[in-house]
């Protein structure tokens, strides 16, 4: 990083986080309220706040920054509120409805629910037009494109005032010519609309996924376009040296023009930077297998890296819309500080997914909330400081918390308030553990082999309990944890994905040559795009993945490989990697069965220089930071014990704390359960360790104290 600053701006549902890193390793977090009606307003507000608090003007920052990075939720919000552009679909005649048939399925969990509504159609049926054309599974043309049908569709769209058009034909991935010709006609007749072409956006087999992805993209493109134009213009006006980079759900940065054309890549970008941040934090210890959990007010996001690579999802339902493009796998659970504890119709205690949100908030906020929440439980357990959160700016009312838990949970179940509070804590943790299985066990990974990394403001109170439940023995908590995703964005690289369908059995010199040529062509495009964006050859790196399966299976499993020349001999390496992955995932493999490859993808990355790591001066022992004790409950029966409380701001590098203890940071509270020890590293990361290691730490401390 050559210049004075790097600026990251990450819009979230409630807050927009600003991260300002400087050349000397200083990293500061600022938070303003998000402004979903006018997202650029929050950006102006935040820069104003930085000027007020740090005395640096927006112009000074932007004109002296090597990069300004923005993670935006405008696309996500438009999808949640169904406020995207008026969109038309041109489809193969006979297949206009695949998007509404949705594979004939109703989501699990609502089987007998008479009130659960169907998904809202982003493109209603009258704006879906079939045209006569057909390519078949061999790639041959069965019916040539009827261009008059395309023109008729355009005339219809013009009459209806459509702003954005998606084109998606059956088997277009094997023969894109029909879609491309239809696109020419649309451009000619509707020069002002935004256009999404299925085979270009997501060139992979599966018509429903491709069409749905194209529709979501088309629906959001005009929204992203307006946003990007406003933000780019604003930063240009402040003297930006480089165009603003936008954070994508694939975990990488992109130019504004790219997130406009491929707006679907922008939809769940917020939590997608967590793996990058996790790897950065773990680097000094060589940690590459990390699960990151991020608990906010209403939701809990989980991501995972294995061997330094983040889990990637393709072909998933996101907000009830099928999306194909590779996104960092983010599992989200309705569990947060505001999650409400309740007793269901069977008589069982449950936590969430309903949330008290920030209005009225937990009962202890004393803003009219009557229902007991996770935050209320943590307060009764003594984990949270009754003087208040965020350095005392938000005082907590213990009596309100107690009354809410008593009325709604403890009395009906016939148990004490303390036991009920510990039960709430346990149940919400178990919900989270079950969700963590979706990124680990369901992906063939044993969570016990991982380090747990803590992101978000509310997580640290639960982190050692979560680790204990999962059998994890090491935990990382950065001093930047409450803004970790924004931090992850400013240390991310530019990244684009290039895909092609293959459909070939993994055997023979011809297949090897075809694969090699395909990868070669994809990667040549990638290099061209990145060098056009100013990346020198040595900054470009490539990762390949192949979707493979046994002949006859329908679901693929994705195998990651480093680039190498694909020869007939090298096919054996690919096969071996596939068998191993299948066994890891499903407990068995079939070494004698034929393997086929369906899709290939290259993820191409342009490396961006990292800012200097944070530096914490050496400490003189944890006792200097001891702020007294508080009774806390670590016991299922609700029995309390006096527990030391430390001020994180006074701890230095090398200082060690033995659990049970609590460390209070300004934006988070770290609960260290009995059996754990914590040590602050010079990079500003607390490393928590369980068990025998904790005993060793006690011994070390005693030696030190002596």
């Amino acid at each position: 990083m050559q210049n004075q600053y790097r600026l990251g701006i990450d819009a979230g549902g409630t807050f927009t986080d600003f991260i300002l890193a400087d050349r000397d390793g200083g990293v500061r977090i600022f938070k303003v309220l998000s402004t979903p009606q006018d997202p650029t307003l929050a950006i102006r507000n935040g820069l104003k706040l930085i000027e007020d608090e740090a005395g640096i003007t927006a112009r000074q920052i932007v004109s002296n920054a090597d990069l300004c990075i923005n993670g935006t939720t405008v696309g996500l919000n438009a999808l949640i509120t169904h406020n995207g552009a008026k969109t038309g679909l041109i489809a193969t005649a006979g297949h206009e409805d695949s998007i509404e048939i949705r594979l004939g399925h109703k989501e699990d969990g609502y089987r007998y629910d008479p009130d659960y509504p169907p998904a809202t159609m982003l493109v209603p049926r009258y704006l879906r037009r079939g045209v006569r054309e057909r390519v078949i599974s061999t790639g041959a043309v069965n019916t040539p494109l009827n261009e008059d049908d395309v023109r008729e569709a355009c005339r219809h769209f013009l009459r209806e005032g459509v702003e954005s058009v998606a084109i998606s034909f059956v088997w277009s991935v094997l023969h894109p010519e029909h879609e491309l010709r239809a696109a020419e006609i649309v451009r000619e007749m509707m020069p002002d609309v935004r256009l999404t072409v299925g085979s270009q956006l997501y060139p992979q087999v599966r018509e429903y996924t491709r069409t749905s992805t194209a529709i979501v993209n088309a629906y959001l493109a005009p929204i992203l376009q307006r946003y990007v134009e406003a933000v780019d213009g604003y930063f240009r006006g402040l003297g930006a040296r480089q165009p603003v980079r936008y954070f994508q759900s694939n975990g990488g940065l992109a130019l504004g023009s790219v997130v406009t054309d491929q707006s679907v890549y922008a939809i769940n970008s917020g939590p997608a930077s967590a793996p990058q941040a996790a790897l950065y934090l773990g680097e000094p210890w060589g940690m590459k297998d990390i699960i990151t959990v991020d608990m906010g007010g209403t939701s809990f996001d989980i991501t995972l890296t294995r061997d330094g690579r983040a889990n990637v999802s393709k072909n998933i339902d996101f907000l009830r819309y099928r999306i194909g493009i590779p996104m960092i796998q983010v599992e989200t659970l309705g569990a947060g500080g505001g999650s409400i504890g309740w007793i269901d119709s069977m008589g069982l205690m449950q936590m969430g997914p309903q949330s008290a949100g920030s209005e009225p908030g937990p009962a202890s906020y004393d803003q009219g909330g009557e229902r007991p929440t996770t935050t209320d439980a943590n307060l009764i357990l003594g984990y949270l400081n009754p003087d208040g959160l965020v350095g005392g700016r938000l005082p907590l009312n213990v009596e309100k918390a107690r009354a809410a838990i008593k009325t709604h949970l403890a009395d009906p179940l016939g148990i004490s308030v303390e036991k009920a509070a510990h039960g709430m804590f346990t149940i919400v943790n178990n919900n989270m553990v079950n969700a963590i299985r979706r990124v680990s066990v369901e992906r063939g990974y044993d969570p016990r082999d991982f380090v747990l990394n803590c992101a978000g403001g509310a997580t640290a109170a639960h982190i050692t309990a979560l680790a204990r439940e999962m059998g994890i023995r090491k935990v990382l908590i950065s001093k930047l944890a409450s803004g970790l995703c924004a931090f992850g964005q400013i240390i991310s690289d530019v990244k684009y994905n290039y895909m092609a369908p293959v459909a070939a059995r993994l055997e023979g010199a011809d297949t090897a040559r075809r694969l090699d040529d395909l990868f070669g062509a994809l990667e040549a495009r990638g290099r061209r795009d990145l060098s056009g964006d100013g990346f020198a050859e040595e900054r470009i790196s490539i990762r390949r993945s192949l979707d493979m399966r046994y002949v006859g299976q329908v679901h693929e499993c994705t195998v990651d490989v480093d680039p190498f020349a694909i020869t007939e001999e090298a096919l054996e390496r690919l096969k071996a990697a596939f068998h191993a992955r299948h066994e890891e995932l499903y407990t068995y493999c079939e070494r004698n069965s034929a393997v086929e490859v369906v899709n290939v993808e290259s993820a191409i990355t342009g490396r961006v220089d990292r800012p200097k790591p944070m530096h914490v001066a050496a400490g003189s022992g944890a006792h200097a930071a001891l702020r007294g004790t508080r009774p806390m409950i670590f016991d299922a029966e609700g029995i309390g014990q006096d527990t030391p409380v430390y001020d994180g701001a006074l701890l230095g590098a090398g200082d060690r704390i033995i659990g049970p203890a609590v460390i209070q940071e300004v934006t988070t509270t770290i609960v260290i359960e009995p059996g754990w020890s914590a040590e602050l590293d010079a990079t500003g990361v607390y490393v928590l360790t369980l068990g025998a290691d904790a005993a060793a730490a006690v011994e070390a401390q005693q030696t030190e104290d002596a």
Binding site: E100, G109, R125, V205, M349, N430, N434
Partner: protein, 582 residues
């Protein structure tokens, strides 16, 4: 209600682990299965049983599979009573032992802990073939079960951990598309293993006794819940009768009746059906439980999780042995999971409509589908499959909203998926020319039934055998709360075969050969409507017309809405008022 022997917190945790276990079993099946019926269509189910064996968790999978797993599991455990060992794995499909139809194959894995049988992990899946004279098993000409395929009474596939290759080979040798069947067996076994692993971990953590106590409590709680729902219904006897149309057997229409007697917090359901027939629409008792329980759940409308405790307060008399809904060997039965099951479900639903009119929703479209088979020149091998995309019908409307389009049939209640068009064309040598919603197919009502679908296919380059099954080709899905349709023929299913420019409409179950260049379009019924269609908001009717879900003619005949300008969709309000008042 307040007798708690177990810690309420542990109880919540155990429940969460059971649900996660079932989810991971289902995921394993989905991801590894080989045939499209499994892996594209999700025509499988998973469940967990305790040692008694009582079902302790029912997946949210196909409703028609799960009711029957309860008697099936009990039969299997009884069959091997005293001879169940660690490492055994049992396979079964025979309706004489509680199975549904023989193409649904069940795998039962006893989970031992410290040498003691504690749980069973169980899955059931629809194979693409089970041997017999007709590919995919649906033989409309069968007059006995022996002409439908292989009956498998409970048999050990593993004996104390040792796989019995001889038994597996015997089975596979009798089935078409052996590779698919073998892959699907592996998937079923894998799912049972995944479930067992999780349950053992659970017992490691909390101890066997605590886990068993929690499970007993969960069963009791479910029982109490269902009792409380039933107690709210006034005591009395309520009955419903539904008509099963003659789909080609020539015996005429049949009536199936259900009588529901509510007394306090208990409920007794009595089924009456005609004598069994030499045609594949007989249902053995196990399968009929599924149909009855589905009708009950349409009333109870409960969120998951589900366990057998729900049914403790419900007793069922399936009628005399040898009747359509309580068949005895050797009655042919292959069609039973859809026909007569959906009619049986309707009869139970109608009885509950009398008992609890505030909780009623309309019937869903019945299954009317096809199986296809032939030779795949691309790989030089035979292919055979049930086409789930061909049975996707409309859902019934409810008291609060229109029915979902393309979500049925009733016996699956949205649990199926029909599979991606490109994946189907990749797996089988076919061209799917159309897969879409059908105009005017949703039942008319204040809330409209969901639209049915049309699925039109042409073989790629070899002749294709097409076997149809089901019904719903003359009688539309029944509405609720006074719904009534006028344009009936658009709301029912049928097969349309087009050869040389001529289209033949077929409403019986048949075996047809379709040549390349010819097309078969299978149409599925829409769902029933809810409430008086003349009370439907005029703007909603216009919106349906704009979207091609209701025709201008349908607007007038079904909804009493007169549209005077077909382009601008202007409504003649005076004419509409007059028509609706008449």
């Amino acid at each position: 209600m307040t007798r708690r022997k177990v810690d309420p917190i542990t109880l919540s945790v155990v429940r969460g682990v059971l649900e996660t276990t079932q989810r991971e079993m289902t995921l394993t099946l989905e991801q590894t299965a080989r045939s499209s019926v499994f892996n594209l269509a999700h025509d499988y189910s998973t469940a967990l049983f305790n040692h008694t064996p009582e079902m302790i968790l029912q997946g949210q999978d196909i409703p028609i599979h799960l009711g029957s797993l309860i008697p099936a599991m009990k039969s299997v455990a009884r069959f091997f009573d005293g001879d169940i060992h660690e490492g055994d794995l049992i396979l079964h499909n025979d309706p004489a032992y509680g199975g549904s139809h023989i193409i649904d194959t069940c795998m039962y894995y006893p989970v031992f802990y410290q040498g003691e049988l504690v749980f069973w992990t169980v899955c059931k899946g629809h194979l693409t073939d089970i041997g017999g004279p007709v590919p995919a098993g649906y033989n409309p000409n069968a007059t006995e079960i022996y002409a439908e395929g292989l009956r498998i009474p409970p048999v050990k596939l593993w004996d104390k951990g040792k796989p019995r290759h001889d038994v597996m080979n015997l089975l596979l040798t009798n089935m078409r598309a052996r590779r698919d069947q073998e892959g699907d067996f592996n998937a079923l076994i894998g799912a049972c293993q995944v479930g067992a692993r999780n349950l053992r971990n659970l017992m490691d953590k909390y101890g066997k006794d605590v886990v068993q106590d929690c499970i007993a409590e969960l069963l009791d709680m479910a029982e109490a819940h269902m009792r409380s729902l039933i107690a709210r219904v006034p005591d009395g006897t309520y009955s419903g009768t539904a008509i099963l149309e003659d789909a080609g057997h020539g015996f005429g229409d049949f009536e199936i009746s259900a009588t529901v007697t509510i007394q306090g917090d208990g409920c007794h359901i009595e089924i009456t059906s005609p004598p069994q027939v030499p045609y594949f629409i007989n249902s053995y008792e196990g399968n009929s439980y599924s149909g009855v329980y589905l009708g009950l759940m349409m009333f109870a409308q409960l969120p998951p999780p589900y366990n057998e405790g729900l049914y403790r307060c419900v007793s069922v008399d399936m009628g005399a042995k040898g009747t359509l809904c309580n068949a005895k060997s050797p009655a042919p039965h292959m069609n039973c999971t859809t026909t007569p099951m959906e009619t049986l479900t309707d009869a139970v639903r109608l009885a509950f409509e009398q008992a609890a009119p505030d909780k009623v929703s309309a019937s869903w479209g019945h299954a009317n589908g096809c199986n296809i088979a032939g030779w795949d020149k691309r790989h030089d091998e035979e292919y055979v499959t049930m086409v789930l995309a061909s049975i996707i019908s409309g859902a019934g409307a409810t008291a609060s909203q229109d029915g979902w389009h393309a979500c049925g049939p009733e016996c699956c209640f949205g649990a199926l998926t029909s599979g991606d068009i490109e994946m189907l064309e990749h797996s089988y040598p076919i061209i799917i020319h159309k897969y879409g919603l059908m105009e005017d197919s949703g039942g008319a009502g204040k809330f409209r039934g969901g639209s049915g679908t049309v699925w039109e296919v042409e073989p790629l380059d070899t002749p294709m055998t097409l076997v149809t099954f089901g019904e719903g080709r003359r009688i539309p899905a029944m509405g609720a709360a006074g719904a009534k349709s006028t344009l009936i023929d658009r709301k029912v299913g049928r097969l349309e075969v087009t050869r040389g420019g001529e289209t033949q409409i077929i409403t019986d179950n048949v075996i047809e050969t379709i040549q390349p260049g010819e097309r078969a379009a299978n149409k599925n019924p829409g769902g029933g409507g809810y409430g008086n269609p003349y009370e439907r908001d005029v703007l909603k009717v216009v919106e349906d017309v704009r979207n091609g879900l209701v025709s201008i003619e349908g607007a007038r005949l079904d909804y009493g809405v007169v549209i005077s300008d077909p382009d601008a969709l202007t409504v003649d309000h005076d004419a509409t008022r007059a028509l609706r008042a008449a």
